[in-house]
């Protein structure tokens, strides 16, 4: 069993991160919430309803953006897919798609194919595509895990800007504790398998946050060390 009993309350528009030791079932949890894997024994209940397939108001952004993007569609085509999947008319969506592409910082790359872009740019396309679907909740499975450090910081800021602008609820998985603190309103620390939530932390640094100043605050380090101790105690237990 990967996951024990996890119950959580999410406010609309919140940014929540899950952190936990590697192999603790973070991805399993997110895939279950996304309705992509059926739970073996228990069930997933969202808004009082058991999930039997992918719910219509959720969309998952995968870590492996290069496997998730459509290589046969241009950047614009990939983003239009999000609108199309939502049932929007393609003709009416084109302007909106271009706006989204601009918003994620890819203006001028509309007609490029995903594999012509760098990893960070590809994940930007994937995020724009997901937002085009206009989900209430955006699930993100270590979306920046395979990017280099600098690109990662840039994408974190882009994501925060989009989140503030669009008001989407975000559930974010990461193994990077500092990333979780920098981004989130709340952090849930997961235990090892079978995982449960062992700690909930409210992060109240003012927004908009700054990569340099926010991360330099003493409180930031305190929280980081607290979470780190909890996770490493798990590992040695």
């Amino acid at each position: 069993m990967a996951i024990a009993d996890i119950s959580c309350q999410v406010e609309a528009g919140e940014f929540i991160s899950f952190v936990g030791p590697s192999g603790c079932g973070k991805t399993t949890l997110l895939m279950s919430i996304a309705g992509l894997i059926a739970s073996t024994t228990g069930k997933i209940v969202v808004k009082g309803r058991a999930i039997s397939g992918p719910p219509p108001n959720l969309v998952l952004v995968f870590q492996e953006f290069n496997k998730s993007l459509f290589a046969w569609r241009s950047v614009l085509g990939n983003v239009l897919f999000g609108f199309d999947a939502r049932g929007k008319k393609l003709r009416e969506s084109e302007d909106k798609a271009k706006q989204l592409i601009d918003l994620v910082g890819l203006k001028g790359f509309e007609s490029h194919y995903p594999w012509e872009l760098s990893g960070g740019m590809q994940q930007r396309v994937a995020i724009a595509r997901a937002l085009a679907y206009e989900p209430e909740v955006l699930l993100m499975d270590e979306p920046f895990g395979s990017l280099d450090a600098l690109t990662r910081l840039e994408l974190e800021d882009t994501l925060l800007r989009l989140w503030e602008e669009l008001g989407t609820t975000i559930l974010f998985i990461t193994h990077d504790i500092e990333e979780a603190i920098y981004l989130s309103d709340r952090i849930w620390v997961l235990s090892r398998r079978p995982s449960k939530i062992i700690e909930e932390l409210r992060i109240d640094f003012p927004r908009p946050r700054q990569q340099v100043t926010t991360r330099a605050e003493a409180r930031f380090m305190e929280i980081r060390n607290q979470i780190y101790k909890q996770i490493s105690n798990q590992n040695t237990a």
Binding site: A34, G35, L36, G53, P54, P56, L58, V59, L60, F62, E64, K67, S68, F70, A71, W72, R73, F81, G82, A85, R86, Y113, W115, E116, Y133, L139
Partner: protein, 259 residues
């Protein structure tokens, strides 16, 4: 393709020299001329056959049979291939049958087809369908199997129904494989049409070639052979042009990976 991208003059020169050798050799020996007439004479026959309209019916018949057989095979094989690639249990059901029938030389079923369908159009198209189905089927199954689970999951998280996942994700993702199968089958289909026409039928280029040989009109026979070759060449060129257009993303992607 020649790497330099320049026009392949030497290649044409070799071809020209061979034809010249043929022409001179044939003219030098009257006995040989009966079986291998000079190139000029063959070209003369070819032009005569085309201009007089004698060839039109054979050419069009072969083309029509080819198109019927090939397109039917493509439709059947892609559909079946997607189903077999997508549903493991369906593949398990048919795996042994496929593995047994696939390596069998397809011409071996021509006698069966004659028994069941007679010697008309139906038989010729049927054996063409049978033979050209295999490469498309096998490649389509392979292509669908190679699709990343993440790609399917992407479709699912965007709320796509199975049917739309099939159309919008599985088919385009498997397209490079499917096209490979289609290209292999292109020549197989033409081989089967002409072979079947030689065995049974009263029209078509295959029939014409064999008929002229039997009437000792070797010059006409060669003209027929040239026409089949031209037909194959043109179909292949058309295919490559369509493929380039349809899989433009793939070509540049492969090119980029090669660099």
């Amino acid at each position: 393709m020649n790497g330099s991208g320049k026009y392949n003059w030497t290649g044409w020169l070799v071809l020209g020299l061979l034809l010249l050798l043929w022409e001179c050799g044939s003219r030098a020996s009257p006995k040989l001329q009966l079986y291998i007439p000079p190139v000029s004479q063959i070209l003369g026959s070819l032009i005569h056959l085309i201009v007089s309209g004698q060839m039109t019916v054979h050419f069009l018949t072969t083309l029509r049979r080819f198109l019927e057989g090939y397109l039917l095979a493509a439709a059947i094989a892609v559909t079946l291939g997607v189903v077999l690639g997508y549903f493991r249990f369906a593949y398990n059901l048919l795996e042994m049958l496929i593995e047994f029938l696939r390596p069998m030389p397809s011409v071996a079923i021509i006698p069966v087809a004659i028994l069941l369908l007679g010697i008309g159009d139906g038989m010729i198209v049927a054996v063409t369908v049978y033979a050209s189905t295999w490469p498309i089927l096998i490649n389509t199954i392979d292509g669908v199997r190679h699709i990343e689970q993440t790609l399917i999951d992407t479709g699912r998280t965007f709320g796509l129904a199975r049917r739309r996942i099939l159309w919008q994700i599985v088919l385009p993702a498997a397209a490079p494989y499917i096209v490979t199968g289609l290209r292999v089958s292109l020549s197989i289909a033409l081989i089967l049409v002409t072979t079947a026409e030689m065995i049974a039928g009263s029209k078509g280029l295959g029939f014409f070639i064999l008929d002229e040989e039997r009437s000792l009109q070797s010059s006409n026979m060669y003209a027929g052979i040239i026409l089949v070759a031209v037909l194959g060449y043109l179909l292949n060129r058309l295919f490559v042009a369509l493929e380039k257009k349809a899989l433009r993303w793939r070509h540049s992607m492969v090119l980029r990976e090669a660099i």
